[in-house]
Symmetry: C2
Subunit: 171 residues, 2 copies
């Protein structure tokens, strides 16, 4: 039986930093560079992100992470793939995430999507995520997807810097 692979959305499939940069630029004309937000969480790194993530369209129009579509399609064939997104903090994101997946990853069935608060009760063989709070309690193989907020630390997870590296490791 195929191994069960759990895949995070924000910061792994969806480029949430770029979206926060886009929203900030659209609102204030201020262009924030990725170098300026290293080590900071998405929500606190940008002055208005706390409001932007609750704004209509923030999750629905987020850019797809470079290289994700091709590799996720191949992973979906090789693994029992589940999308597991901690979306419950932002109820506005729930429907937006559903339609975002439908648009950019139409081969993923709704049966394989999990929107949750804590990811602790969701079990699998492999988890790809950008947050230590999700990876640290995970029992099995854990891959840390590099994002500005996690570069400063190393807590022993396998680090992957982009989708090409995930493909090399898992396909």
């Amino acid at each position: 039986m195929a191994e069960r692979l759990l895949l995070d959305m924000d910061g792994v499939m969806a480029d949430i930093y770029q979206q926060a940069i886009n929203f900030e630029f659209e609102e204030s004309g201020k262009l924030i560079a990725l170098e300026d937000v290293v080590g900071k969480d998405e929500i606190v790194a940008f002055p208005n992100a706390k409001r932007h993530v609750r704004q209509k369209g923030f999750f629905r129009t987020a850019p797809v992470m470079q290289g994700a579509q091709k590799v996720v399609r191949e992973l979906d064939e090789a693994y029992e793939l589940f999308i597991v997104s901690a979306a419950m903090e932002f109820p506005n994101s729930l429907e937006e995430k559903y339609y975002w997946l439908e648009e950019h990853f139409p081969f993923i069935s709704w049966r394989n999507v999990i929107l949750c608060g804590s990811k602790v009760p969701v079990s699998g063989d492999i988890l790809i995520d950008d947050h230590y709070k999700n990876l640290d309690p995970f029992q099995n193989r854990s891959l840390l997807f590099t994002q500005p907020h996690n570069v400063a630390e190393d807590r022993g997870h396998e680090r992957v810097n982009n989708w090409e590296e995930i493909a090399r490791l898992l396909l």
Copy 2:
């Protein structure tokens, strides 16, 4: 450590049959009796339910199952409680379910809510659900909440007929 209790929404916390009866009556003036839908799934038992469940408000205004509020509050203190609802088939239900929980069960944190397609990857010690498709693959203790669609069969799960019986078994 407290046991992890997984709790279904539709047909367990929310009275979906009553809501389908309400929607049908409001639309056509036809009053369907519960006795007429025994053995049938909620969606097929009612002539227009397939449309009604996609209508705005169907999940948001569903009546709370009798006795649920008091017992769920006590379970939430005694167990590590997670709400696990197969909501993904109806994307319109995602936000409605969030706000329905917030209104009727405000003591449940968003951290403890899981909206999914398949429940298979969600692990726990006890599952209370009204559908065999969720209970049959569950590895641990499984409680079947009686609903018209499940009365005709017995697949070896512990049957509970109402929230008072759940309280007697688990509290």
